[in-house]
Amino acid sequence: MSAVTTPARGRFRDFLGSNRGREAIEAYILILPTILGLIVFTASPVLASLYYSFTRWNLLSTPKWQALDNYIELLTEDPLFWITIKNTGYYVLGTVPTGTVLALLLAIALNQKIRFVAVFRTIYFLPVVSSVVAISVLWLWLYQSDFGIVNELLRFLGFRGVRWLSSVTWAMPAIIIMSIWHGLGYNIVIFIAGLQSIPQDYYEAATVDGANAWHKFINITIPLLSPVTFFVLTLSVINSFQVFAQAYVMTRGGPVNSTKTIVYYLFQQGFENFHMGYASALAYVLFVIIVSLTLFQFWFQRRWVHYEL
């Protein structure tokens, strides 16, 4: 520009001319798309969503500010909201603990010296690559009351069949069982990797000390695997709170709202009824629940996660 430069501008120019400065410029070029994407596709929508949650808006009109009305209605006047919270909680409690324990036990089984381990691992993993939609379509057929194979199996074993997806009592358990089946292989793979990262020396030392298999499991495997367990739990909770496709494909939230989840309700309010403000408030409630649970898990992990023995 001109010969008159402030000292600050001079230092900045020196920085740009230096090796460090050129490195920084190159780095910003490399991360530029990401920064733009972050702003346009994540940060702005997250903020916009917060604003919409304080408005009444049907997508065609301009959003009308109504302060906390949506949240007040949600929390105090809308019984359906609490039903969806309860249903989602039921789903999370039904899938996460059982899914995690089963995956851990099966990972330990597959980590023994067994033949055809790769074949078993592949079979366990097959459902994971299939979409929730395809899996739901399959289980819709398996759960069919009169001709479905699940009831046929129950009858073969001497039980009476259940009207799985058209029963208020059984629809959610049916979805839970299917979802555990679907996600098991994923967690097994993570647990196997965790098991293989535990140094064998610990087990050898324990054997010398006369520890039996059970003691080794409790005192070595469980503590040293706890960071992996923590990862699996945290991720499972985040994912299962957003359950949607199962209910959309199999039950449409029914019967009598017994499988209507938070995200399903959000979808209905937003994209079937076009209550965009209300749906945004629902999204924020979900957001707050997920962030609080994740932070709680990070806080609580100090009490049970061991990064070394």
Binding site: A27, L30, I123, V129, L138, I290
Partner: protein, 306 residues
């Protein structure tokens, strides 16, 4: 002599050990019995679980090859001759499954290419370069993993409507060219395993960082790219919420969304519905068999170091 001290069967032949005393050989026998019981139990459990995993998928294929009458047969038959391969072409008469397949492939390929480009670039800067604001920006990107997609859904819907992207494939592809938090994290993990000396040597030879990125790091991180590619392709292929909201015209729909449509339209025609399900998971399953190692390594890696 306790049971634990006995050599594991299989490594040493039990009969080869001279029976020092009756008690010792008795201990050995009980160890052997316990060992065999344990192995039988182990194999039974993993086989039973394996069957639980595999049989429903085989039942899907079996149903897709039956004629309508055979579908509702009790007790059910696994294979009913003649196999009705014609159910698959019939599917294409009910809904444009050929378009669904093309759309899904197109969207998944573009999303994958976009994610590979943008994530591998950004991850390189975060793994190997120094620049002001690096740690803060990276922390923000990691925090993004926690944000549910649904929080951004309504503003994005409005944005795409305003710029005329609804019922096009843009909303499902373009964002991937601008990085994903998960992809950047994954690629950074891979880059960190490449020795720093390679960067320094290339710097001495006068390479710029961008040259180091595409001449050295990209070729060396093929396994990482394969993992990210498979994950992105799979996520795109299996996505329901995005296509459900952004694609309203039937001819723009993906196979996953098309399958939900089929379930409504072919009500009760289980052989057609299951044929649709088979078609929707077939390409992905083939891909899984080809890239299995990358896939499983990728999951293991993000799980352990995450």
């Amino acid at each position: 002599m306790s049971a634990q001290d006995a050599p594991p069967i299989g490594e040493a032949d039990a009969t080869a050990i001279p029976p020092a005393s009756a008690a010792a050989s008795e201990g050995l026998t009980s160890y052997r019995v316990r060992y065999i019981t344990w192995r039988v139990l182990l194999y039974s459990v993993i086989t039973l679980v394996g069957a639980t995993m595999l049989l429903p998928l085989l039942w899907m294929i079996s149903t897709s090859l039956k004629e309508p009458g055979a579908v509702l047969l009790l007790p059910p038959k696994w294979i009913s001759i003649p196999l009705q391969w014609g159910n698959y072409p019939k599917l294409f008469d009910v809904l444009p499954f050929d378009l669904f397949l093309i759309n899904s492939i197109k969207i998944a390929v573009f999303a994958t290419v976009g994610a590979l480009l943008s994530c591998s670039m950004a991850a390189f800067a975060f793994a190997r370069m120094r620049f002001p604001g690096k740690n803060i920006i990276f922390a923000v990107i990691l925090a993004m993993i926690m944000i549910p997609f649904h929080v951004t859904l309504i503003p994005l819907f409005k944005l795409y409507r305003d710029i005329g992207w609804l019922s096009t494939h843009m909303p499902l592809t373009v964002p991937f060219f601008f990085g994903t938090a998960f992809g950047i994290f994954l690629m950074r993990q891979f880059y960190l395993t490449i020795p720093q000396e390679m960067v320094e040597a290339a710097r001495i030879d006068g390479c710029s960082f961008i040259q180091i990125y595409y001449r050295i790091f990209l070729p060396l991180s093929k396994p990482g790219l394969a993992t990210l590619g498979i994950f992105t392709f799979l996520g795109s292929w299996n996505n329901l919420m995005g296509p459900l909201i952004f694609l309203t015209k039937v001819e723009t729909m993906t196979i996953t969304l098309g399958l939900t449509l089929l379930t409504n339209q072919a009500g009760g025609r289980w052989e057609l519905i299951q044929a649709g399900a088979v078609i929707s998971i077939l390409p992905i399953t083939v891909m899984f068999f080809i890239g299995q190692e990358h896939f499983i390594q990728g999951i293991a890696r993000t799980g352990i170091k995450g």
